[in-house]
């Protein structure tokens, strides 16, 4: 899926022209980027948070040559998905799997 595919989905869901959907997606991404550039967090309820994390300097190694190199301190973007998002992807996957008999609860006597 790329940007155009998302615009197409928006078109199918809400019926606005694909061009408009694409423009709004672009504006949305620009806004998010501008906030992250300032080092601030973007919190999207029901979706997740984009957080800028500060990494300290550390020593790394070139895995090919084994040579030790210094890694400078840096800022990185991480995404923390919301509970809703996490649950959503797992539940949707489960639906495609065959139903599994539920395990019996211990302590229940047979009739």
């Amino acid at each position: 899926m790329r940007k155009a595919d998302i615009a197409n989905e928006v078109y199918e869901k809400v019926g606005i022209p694909k061009k408009d959907a694409s423009d709004i997606l672009e504006l949305m991404l620009d806004s998010i980027k501008a906030v992250l550039q300032k080092g601030e967090t973007v919190k999207i309820a029901g979706f997740g948070n984009f957080v800028v994390r500060h990494k300290r300097a550390r020593k790394g190694r070139n895995p090919k040559t084994g040579e030790e190199i210094g890694i400078t301190p840096r800022k990185v973007v991480t995404f923390r998905p919301s509970q809703v998002f996490k649950r959503y992807v797992n539940d949707a996957q489960l639906e495609e799997k065959p139903a599994v008999a539920e395990e019996t609860v211990e302590g229940v006597d047979a009739p």
Partner: protein
């Protein structure tokens, strides 16, 4: 920035678009991302980043209260990887 602020900002940039309309469109975008991942597909947005699912294997966990060992089932976790442009923008 919260979702409400994001909606307000985007709405302010498009002539003739109300906040409510913007909210519906942004929700459709976010739902589209979620549905795509739930289907097992990934999303790649140039200059921003990509979303895909990562698998977590079954592991042994412990109930912190009772100390009893429990099996934590395998699951999927949404994962975002920042694109080159975003990475550079943030690290500057």
């Amino acid at each position: 920035m919260t979702k409400a602020e994001l909606i307000e900002e985007v709405a302010g940039k498009v002539k003739g678009l109300t906040k409510r309309q913007t909210e519906i469109i942004i929700n459709a975008i976010l739902d589209g991302v979620k549905e795509t991942l739930a289907r097992g597909d990934k999303i790649e947005i140039r200059g921003f980043g990509s979303f895909r699912l990562r698998n977590r294997r079954t592991r042994e966990g412990r109930n912190p209260k009772t100390g009893m060992t429990v099996q934590v089932p395998a699951k999927h976790v949404p994962f975002f990887k920042a694109g080159k442009e975003l990475k550079e923008l943030v690290d500057r």
